[in-house]
Amino acid sequence: MKFDQPATLNPIDRGRVIGIAHDRIDGPAKVTGTAPYAYERHDVAPNAAYGWIVGSAIAKGSISAIDTRAAEAAPGVFAVVTHENAGPLGKGEMNTAHLLGGPRIEHFDQALALVVAGTLEQARDAARLVRIDYAREEGQFELAAEKDKAVKPPVSWGTQPDSAAGDFDAGFASAAVKIDRTYTTPDHSHAMMEPHASTAAWLGGRLTLWTSNQMIAWAVKELALTLKMKPEDIHVMSPYIGGGFGSKLFLRADAVLAALGARAAGRPVKVAIARPQIPNNTTHRPATIQRIRIGADKNGVIDAIGHEVWSGDLPGGGIESAAMQTRLLYGGKNRMTAHRLAVLDLPEGNAMRAPGEAVGLLALEVAMDELAEKCGVDPVELRIRNDVQYDPEVGPKRPFSSRKLIECLRQGADRFGWSKRNPKPGQVRDGHWLVGMGVAAAFRNNIASKSGARVSVDGKGQVTVETDMTDIGTGSYTIIAQTAAEMLGVAMEAVTVRLGDSKYPVSAGSGGQWGGNSSTAGVYAACMVLRGILAQKAGFNAEDAEFEDGMIKAAGKAIPLKQAAGRDGASAEDKIEFGDLSKRYAQATFGAHFCEVGVDMHTGETRVRRMGGAFAAGRILNPKAARSQVIGAMAMGVGAALMEELTVDTRFGYFVNHDMAEYQVPVHADIPEQDVLFVDELDDKSSPMKAKGVGELGICGAGAAVANAIYNACGVRIRDYPLTLDKVIRSLPAA
């Protein structure tokens, strides 16, 4: 099905199952611990051996010698894989560094060997016996030091690094009120709870891989490139994923090494990347330096807005596109954005939840707070004044498909009690806590991408949906079941959803908050075809047929679905393909975050006391699942504001705090009551579902609301994230 005209009334609009807060259908499997994750497939690979990864102890250079004899002779060891015996390997297009390094070493903890043994303990013990001699080379590890050497990167993922409209320099120079500030954000780690893990088994020349990956089709393609195989010979399954947040978008070392290890050992092998290896072996969200200049009139109406971003990556890597939202969020006729990329020899930077916006808004939305203060305008009002209903770089000929930022700001402010905020910082006290409130806009691009599904009805009326879509905790199983149930007029219990298998039709996969809307639209497409088939079988005109209560109804007649399907059942496969609606219309999701913090005047400890948010993201397919996505993302935003930071050892080029004790993510005590409101919205230009993404919107702006609240509480403006107690206290007025 081609989606190139705005959606009209369709079966989804009935809203009998879609839009209802249905419990997750995978909930029982998860609370009982029976949902099988990739490392646990004893059922399919009962004799799997265990692989342990040996990572590079240097950041840049090469292996001068590698001696695996002692490891090979250790008890229980079946094989040791290194670049010397792995055979010729390619590299996936989406990987920057090689997943098995050597002789060149591209980053610290890059996998250089895999030890395969009968037990995990044996593999781990033997891994210490692999002797590697290095030829270490100097590397560049500090973004600030390399900033001036950063260059304009090529177009990547369709994104132009630079953009301009009007004359920014002139507009900024002549503005009545100016903000010119630089903000920094550190490297972030996804810190999903399930480490990357894979189990691999060979049968002849064919590879079966149970893994934890957000994008099945990419995984197959990249594996084929890496192992120099035909994609047809690779079967990838990833039905349960213990969190991803972008860390599992791409093929990683666990998958490649499990495959190589299994080939070498002649038996299935499983490999997990140990927690302390994850930050340096896998990807992270790159650090940024961001300069924001805003020129406005005395009332805070923006005339010129500029956002420049510097980030670094390995040679051939990409940018952190942190200025993207600035192209669309606020009006102003003179505009510029620019991304510059430095070469750093740190581990590979790549996408993490809401790449671009998550850190871009940490800067932009604080700059807006600074502007509000300078103009003496309420920060909520300032954002409303600068709202724009079209793409401000293009003009009114490219309107937003739907944009309810103002509604989010107004309704959110009401619910939060924003009117009680004292605009003057440092005025409100609760005991020895300084209390303040902050606001920030939420913005995340809406991406829709091609997605297929196969839907069948059997002779008992049971519906099965198959698609290679993944559920990374997002609720895909449930919303896909809801979609099929709505489209075919059956109960949720009558639908079985099978996901994450490369044998199923290729879907959008999970990433960039495109998964929910796109994959359900793919199921919609397949269901439309199936409806036609079933109606025809029932002798009805497809256009007239109604599907409800397990029946097909038309012309006063009703036939049970199972009867129409017949003994052999009926099945249809289709995909949704998106036309140029996203070119004709700017498409994005919006929201407003509100936050109240307390800052301890003696210690600089910050405690988030309340958070509230209002969000507009098209049709909310399942309010319960959507809410949980949003509050989880808001919690991650608190992490980015207050504690998350991979600390770079600038001498040796690695992340020092590479575990969960030292790379801190919020514990529940850091997260207060979170109030979430979804503003009513249907976006007929986004898909037949009239939905948009929602999985990433919650992180976008959340941290900035915390930062702005800290400023309002104590008058301390910190522009270098995270806002830790030592930075806060440095600027606190004496108690």
């Binding site: 419990d23 210490r128 949980s628 993510v665 514990v667 830790t724 107690l725």
Partner: protein, 477 residues
């Protein structure tokens, strides 16, 4: 020699015991019970939470405690009962807590879920720590998906669940008869003595042996540090090491008392001490980690020592040569060096009960509110008589290579009136007591500045001001 434990009513026997293999690996890879997850293998995330059941002293009652299976070694399972997430649902029917979690949307990716289930289940059946609020019971469980609210709501929505432990106790008593005394595995020896005499004898014979109490430190040496430990003495079953004796004069604790068990007695000594314990690790860490281990590890950032030093605690060490008792601060000689002779073990700790009029203030400062190591931990105990400070004991963690007293500051306070000027001069003296370092937890400047502010905090509180360190009520939705 084999290790035996009870799992779902059946005794499981492990014959070839690798003493540093973890309970988590045994469950997941030997028994292939994979419901229990590995998120970190170092005690930080709680995904591996299981309940360990043991008889109380006297064998009349038993208790369950939530622990992190990823850093517990197999010998620590001997004679115990184990509950994992698989133990809960009967014939595929969800336990009420599980049902409540599924309905509340407490699980997204599901990887943290079994750990939360076990922490919360423990609370419903009266396990150690069951008297804590839901929030405290799951403080050691991390979730990256849910924002926690739906999990806490499920915990709050479920009351007590009944559990018949009689059969378990019968089996535990039986197993107690045949406890495992130790073994050898690939040249590595391990012992599990049952009496103080046997412990002292073993340590005399193997002065290089590594004592293992709760393994919340030593576990990480293996799972993360990838160390091999040659000789191990597990002290969890030594009689009397878990005794707590409270009287007018103070509290005596065996070195093997887990923090969780000391919590109530500590709170009775002073509420600040109780609050400090609440913020040591998560409940799983406190259920395993011992007072003795927290002291014996000599860590400069251990949370127990500063407070205990300020309160005037005394440490008793024991060996075949006899006992030695010393003020706790004297135990810490230098970074990584303690006053412990070969063959000695930490036997007990005595903490005097503060007088009601003593002014005590204990603050732990960390980036994140729970499950974090202190940037600075400060403890103050002042005795004020007729407006004069007659005694001052002030100790800090995170300010030097060992937990230690701020002697300059103490001297600046003693003999002076309890007044703002004295506090001000105390903070100046304090600056001379330490030269802290900068690390990921805080800068040197921050540490110095905040140490002084903690003294001010004490002052303001003494003036009746509300110093709500953490008591901001937050209700999750």
């Amino acid at each position: 020699m084999s290790v035996r434990f009870l799992l779902d009513g059946e005794i499981v026997e492990i014959t070839d015991v690798d003493p540093t293999s973890t309970i988590l690996n045994y469950l997941r890879y030997r028994l292939r019970r994979t419901g229990t997850k590995e998120g970190c293998a170092e005690g930080d995330c709680g995904a591996c939470t299981v309940l360990l059941g043991e008889l109380d002293e006297g064998a009349e009652t038993m208790r369950w405690r939530s622990v992190n299976a990823c850093i517990l070694f197999l010998p620590m399972l001997d004679g115990k009962a184990l509950l994992t997430v698989e133990s809960l649902a009967v014939d595929g029917k969800l336990n009420p807590l599980q049902a409540c979690m599924a309905e509340n949307g407490s699980s997204q990716c599901g990887f943290c879920t079994p750990g939360f289930v076990m922490s919360l289940y423990g609370r419903t059946i009266g396990a150690s720590g069951h008297d804590l609020p839901v929030a405290d019971v799951v403080a050691g469980n991390l979730c990256r998906c849910t924002g926690y609210g739906p999990i806490l709501a499920a915990g709050d929505g479920i009351g007590k669940l009944s559990r018949d432990d009689q059969p378990t106790m019968v089996a535990l008593r039986e197993m107690a008869e045949t406890a495992c005394a130790g073994g050898v595995f690939e040249d590595r020896r391990w012992f599990a003595p049952r009496t103080p005499e046997a412990l002292a004898g073993l340590l005399a014979a193997h002065p290089d042996a590594r004592i293992i109490a709760g393994a919340t430190d030593v576990g990480l040496w293996v799972t993360k540090g990838l160390k091999t430990i040659e000789t191990m003495v597990f002290i969890g079953n030594v009689a009397g090491m878990k005794a707590i004796v409270e009287d007018e004069a103070g509290v005596t604790l065996g070195a093997g008392v887990p923090y969780a068990d000391a919590h109530a007695a500590f709170s009775r000594l002073h509420p600040d001490l109780g609050e400090l314990v609440r913020r040591i690790g998560g409940l799983q860490v406190r259920n395993a980690g011992t007072i003795g281990g927290n002291i014996a590890n000599g860590s400069p950032i251990g949370d127990g020592p500063p407070a205990l030093i300020a309160l005037g605690a005394e440490l008793t060490l024991c060996s075949t040569a006899g006992r030695r008792t010393m003020p706790l601060e004297n135990f810490f000689l230098d970074y990584g060096r303690q006053d412990r002779q070969p063959g000695e073990y930490v036997e007990s700790l005595w903490i005097p009960r503060p007088a009601p009029q003593d002014i005590i203030h204990i603050s732990k400062l960390s980036r994140r509110f729970d499950s974090d190591i202190s940037a600075v931990c400060g403890a103050f105990a002042l005795t004020v008589e007729n407006g004069l400070i007659v005694r001052a004991r002030i100790a800090f963690g995170g300010m030097a290579a060992t937990p230690c007293r701020a002697s300059g500051c103490e001297a600046a306070l003693v003999g002076k009136p309890f007044a703002a000027e004295t506090i001000a001069s105390g903070t100046i003296a304090l600056a001379g007591d330490f030269s802290p370092i900068t690390d990921v937890r805080g800068t040197a400047t921050y540490r110095a500045e905040v140490a002084a502010n903690l003294l001010w905090r004490l002052w303001y509180r003494a003036q009746g001001e509300d110093i709500s360190v953490l008591a901001l009520e937050s209700s999750h939705g």
